[in-house]
């Protein structure tokens, strides 16, 4: 080193490592500060939670769940609630798929020459739809649509439109441009280029995104009702509010069964498809 010409200073490996460790240290400190501040600023009632009293009341609370109400008429009601939950999720997802595709078109630049002036504003709208959770949408839509599954369906649709619209837009932009370009150079109009060249290529991907969101939405629809937006959640909130613990237990059981079933089916089908 000493005999050769002066080399520009380069970060030796040890220096790079030092820098990386330094950065990690700062990060760790920041995270620690966040955690400590969080614990400190929340008036958490651990004493109350871990006291004998709380344990007893928890025990009593759980004991009241048993035996769950299994009278035929209540089971029928729960089954209806489950069906309503499924219907809400399916319809909400379908509406979202349609609206998402409609918004994905202005939100994507399908070929390089396109000006796509609506791309940024539509993406902002999609982000806004996506940023507000389903439950908050449900709370807002209750005012417009009244209590019941309609508000829940629309809430699921609103949030899912944001999610699917963005995914769809990205899929459309990543579609192979060849077939579309071929039609366009022949003078085929925009709508038909989309319908006969772009859409057929991305349809399987769009379908798989939609199914994945449906799975999520079944889970979301099950609890959406606690603000009054229909389905099993509404039954749960209603009976829990009136301290009908046996009935609450049945509804909870149905909810867990539904979620477990969806999880199992999705896991199984994925395993089967990946075989």
């Amino acid at each position: 080193m000493s005999s050769g010409p002066a080399l520009p200073p380069v970060a030796t490996p040890s220096q790079a490592l030092w820098n990386a460790r330094c950065r990690a240290c700062w990060l760790l400190l920041a995270m620690l500060a966040l955690v400590v501040a969080s614990f400190w600023s929340l008036d958490l009632q651990w004493g109350q939670f871990f006291s004998l009293d709380a344990a007893r009341s928890m025990g009593r609370f759980i004991a009241e769940f048993f035996p769950p109400d299994t009278s035929p008429e209540f089971l029928r009601k729960v089954a209806l609630g489950t069906w309503e939950t499924l219907a809400m999720s399916a319809l909400g997802t379908l509406l979202a798929a349609v609206a998402g595709l409609a918004l994905a078109l202005p939100a994507s630049r399908l070929h390089a020459a396109e000006r796509a002036w609506a791309r940024a504003p539509t993406r902002a709208l999609l982000n806004l739809l996506r940023a507000v959770p389903e439950l908050v949408w449900a709370g807002l839509l209750l005012i417009a649509a009244g209590l019941g599954p309609l508000a829940g369906t629309l809430a699921l649709a609103a949030h899912t439109t944001g999610v699917l619209g963005r995914l769809f837009a990205e899929t459309l932009e990543n579609a192979p441009p060849g077939p579309g370009a071929a039609l366009r150079t022949q003078g085929v109009g925009k709508g038909r280029v989309f319908l006969y060249a772009t859409l057929p290529q991305v349809l399987p991907q769009l379908l798989s995104y939609t199914l994945y969101r449906w799975e999520n939405n079944i889970r979301a629809a099950a609890v959406l009702g606690v603000v009054g937006a229909g389905g099993l959640g509404q039954l749960l909130a209603f009976h829990m509010g009136l301290f009908h613990m046996a009935k609450t237990a049945t509804v909870l059981g149905a909810m867990l069964l539904l979620v477990g079933l969806v999880d199992g089916l999705s896991y199984g089908s994925r395993r089967w498809l990946m075989r």
């Binding site: 109350q48 928890m58 219907a87 099950a222 829990m240 979620v259």
Partner: protein, 277 residues
């Protein structure tokens, strides 16, 4: 187009099939619409329109008194704090359970099949994690609000349990998905399981584990707002109160703060994950 080619069909050759499938889908959709009382025209009923119009009318101007903004700021911080605290407790739950569930760290599995005891222990831990995860956090929160009363404790516990299950399961999956060669070599050469973990398994998967944790923190912020709607404190609880009082201006401000908060968490999480590379 050259003359030798036949004229292209002017009509979609498959239109009949498409028409059939669309009508079939509509027929199948009918019962779903009935079950979910899907009558969107009720939105346009004069009574509903009036209420909606009034509510939307109060959105502007958004509430902006200093005192209200201070309250919103405090609640926004509480939302972040609930998410962070919940996630830390979830880690306390998830890390040991994930380590218990990881198959790669099994000593008996080195010589063929895992022994029966450890096998069933791992399976049981796995099922426990799945059960914790599959109860929605909102249900946990409803239950805990009954036990510990309104306030952030219920939200923290709900996030801790659901996310504990989620993180534990995914941690175990991440640890098992990588190349097990280094860990196995260490174990075969007489390293203890903790040595194999710290020198083989963790360095290999640390960045993936951390980036998944950061992503979940972002999700926890979103869900801590939602938990507020059942009384678990934070921004969600205030939003619920304002909605019930039809105070559009307050709702608007809080929605804006919430969207900004989520966007911020999104940026921070993306930045952290990029740094972890």
């Amino acid at each position: 187009m050259s003359a030798s080619l036949p004229a292209p069909p002017q009509r979609d050759p498959a239109w009949l099939g498409r028409l059939f499938w669309i009508s079939a889908a509509l027929v199948l959709l009918w019962p779903l619409g009935v079950a979910s009382e899907f009558k969107p025209w009720t939105l346009l009923a004069p009574d509903n329109l009036k209420v909606t119009g009034q509510f939307l009318g109060t959105f502007l101007p958004p509430a902006h008194s200093a005192e209200f903004l201070l309250m919103v700021g405090r609640e926004a911080w509480r939302t972040v704090a609930i998410a962070t605290t919940g996630l830390v407790l979830a880690l306390v739950l998830a890390v040991p359970l994930a380590l218990l569930a990881v198959r790669v760290l099994s000593v008996s599995a080195l010589s063929g099949r895992m022994a029966r005891g450890p096998f069933w222990l791992r399976q049981a831990v796995r099922w426990g994690l799945v059960v914790l995860r599959s109860v929605p956090e909102l249900v946990w929160a409803l239950v805990f609000v009954r036990v510990v009363g309104l306030g952030p404790t219920a939200g923290v516990l709900a996030i801790a349990l659901t996310y504990g299950g989620m993180l534990g399961k995914v941690y175990a999956e991440i640890l098992e998905s990588g190349d097990a060669h280094a860990t196995e070599t260490l174990l075969r050469n007489g390293a203890s399981r903790s040595q194999a973990l710290f020198y083989g398994l963790l360095p290999q998967n640390a960045s993936e584990l951390t980036s998944y944790t950061v992503y979940r923190w972002e999700c926890a912020i979103r869900s801590s707002v939602v938990l507020g709607f059942v009384g678990a404190g934070g921004l969600g609880q205030q939003m619920d109160n304002s909605m019930k009082m039809f105070n559009g201006g307050e709702v608007f401000t809080m929605l804006a703060v919430f969207v900004a908060l989520v966007a911020l968490a999104d940026q921070v999480s993306a930045l952290l994950r990029r740094m972890l590379g």
